[in-house]
Amino acid sequence: MNIIVLAKQTFDTEEKIVIEQGSISEDGVKFVLNPYDEYAVEQAIQLRDEHGGKVTVIAIGPERATEALRTALAMGADEAVLISDEGAALDEHAVAQILHAYVSQQIFDLILGGNFSVDNGSGQVAIRLAKLLSIPHVGSITKLVIQGGQAEIERDAEGDTEQLTAALPALFTAQQGLNEPRYPSLQGIMKAKRKPLQQLSLSDFDSIHSQPLTARVSVSTPPPRQAGKRLSGAPAEQVQQLIGLLQTEAKLFT
């Protein structure tokens, strides 16, 4: 089974956002493989180990995104591809178009991606890609079993669980709970250095359809929240005080 995993490198979720001269500063920021993409990589590795085949991880991003791809290779993916976007302000439409240009030339049974990226958070790219490839998709999955050329899936729909069957080839996006992503082993990290990591650039693709259709006008951070009142006294007194303040100050429960 040939599996393609869509990956993105994102800020670590413990990073603060600092804006300098109208854009988000990357100074000293720790970058990681998007946490939702880790579930996708893990699932792909498990399916390959069960059914045979190959896992190819693909990312669009700057040069530093190779680190996220090396992480995926160290976890156990077989090959990686980086399409370098240096300098280009792409949107979800453009990214999906470029992915489509690449993926449509590949042979695959399954495409996996994260439910959304923890930076931009729009969750569009994978689903757009499924549509461009004319393959079915199921988003936000928490369980995936492949049997006899079709997929048995569980999908998280705002707390409800939908159980579906899908014909392959298909695309699925990973929700938390799908699996427990492994940490790369030392041996895995050493092996990853020798695994193929192909680098392409945007100029390798037809640019006509990959012009962005939305543009950022401005970016800002919300005003910091101020620490409020620290209550004191015996626990029962504090609770009494708190309920009083919620009603008089916070205008709740009135």
Partner: protein, 331 residues
């Protein structure tokens, strides 16, 4: 012919979801005067909701009904919406940023070769350029961006609970346009839907959220939090620490991984306040922190802080609320 803006309605549990009306507001704000805002109902037995959408300001209601549409199925809903788009030729489509909207909108955007701006919380017209600026959180709310469209058609998803309801006009009606379900060969089938326990409040729409962190120490440790949530008619949430430790289901996780919540009241119990958690709840109107550690960072953003053991404080809160509240709702 006037310009048409589509607002996608959603039915859940036998009623229209509130976001169905909020997208009418957003579409109206974006369209300005003189445009048509048309609601879209897709499902089985949904035409009965057309009047309510009209009362909330829909100028037309497009309806696609079929048994294949009883439950959300991406392919069947996408094909239905494509048929509506064919008929209506909209300039813009507004979805809720919900389970269905998040899944369906990118399919429409890809078909139309249109840009999509997701999860907006506000929109305004730029006085200088006349273009519409959409505000959306990024990094789970650690920052906000304004975006605009360069494509002719636009697709937008709207975060629930951020746009006001349009005014309700009793007896207002709108033409209903029935669109035939375009029978398509489905490659995905729903076998079953396991619905969550009835009466449980959905996390992303809850007005009160009570969350547990590592401080709850075990799955059983969530019990006092659940009891408080029940008394306050709130939803139970959790930090990544609690989920990773296996104390609760990942569906409860609040943070940059997990859900972003903006309730009226957020009560953090035994949560230290890691940046990744704070990103998911810091836009709550009022925050209460209960933690044994007086130096926990959660106190830096809390309106009210109680330094103490949650197993002592939370049951006291539950008992007091029970005693003092006539009703459990915030309103």
């Amino acid at each position: 012919m006037t310009t048409v803006y589509l607002a996608i309605a959603e039915v859940k549990g036998g009623a229209l979801r509130q976001v169905s009306f909020e997208v009418i507001t957003a579409a109206r704000q974006a369209s300005g005067e003189g445009s048509t805002v048309a609601s879209v109902l897709i499902g089985s037995d949904v035409s009965r909701f057309a009047n309510e959408l009209a009362a909330y300001g829909a100028d037309h209601v497009y309806v696609v009904e079929h048994n294949d549409l009883t439950h959300y199925n991406a392919e069947a809903y996408d094909a239905s919406l494509q048929a509506v788009i064919q008929a209506a030729q909209p300039k813009a489509i507004f979805f809720g940023h919900t389970s269905i909207g998040k899944d369906l909108a990118p399919l429409s955007a890809a078909s139309l070769q249109a840009g999509q701006i997701s999860d907006i919380i506000a929109l305004e017209t730029d006085a200088a350029s006349g273009s519409i600026l959409y505000t959306r959180p990024i990094y789970a709310g650690k920052a906000f961006e304004q975006r605009t469209f360069t494509s002719a058609q636009s697709v937008v998803t709207v975060r629930p609970n951020n746009f006001p309801l349009p005014s309700y006009e009793t007896g207002r009606t709108a033409p209903v346009v029935n669109i035939a379900y375009p029978a398509s060969t489905l490659r995905t089938f729903i076998r079953d839907v396991v619905t969550q326990a009835a009466g449980r409040v959905d996390l992303s729409e809850a007005k009160i959220v009570i969350s547990g962190g590592r401080g709850v120490k075990s799955a059983a440790g969530f019990k006092p939090i659940e009891e408080l949530a029940e008394v306050l008619n709130g939803a139970v949430g959790a930090s990544r620490g609690a989920c990773d430790a296996g104390y609760c289901d990942y569906a409860l996780q609040i943070g940059q991984t997990g859900k972003v919540v903006t309730p009226e009241l957020y009560i953090a119990c035994g949560i230290s306040g890691a940046i990744q958690h704070v990103a998911g709840m810091s836009q709550s109107r009022v925050i209460i922190a209960i933690n044994k550690d007086p130096d926990a960072p959660i106190f830096q953003i809390a309106d009210y802080g109680i330094v103490g053991d949650l197993f002592e404080v939370v049951p006291l809160l539950t008992a007091q609320f029970k005693q003092q509240l006539k009703s459990g709702s915030v309103d």
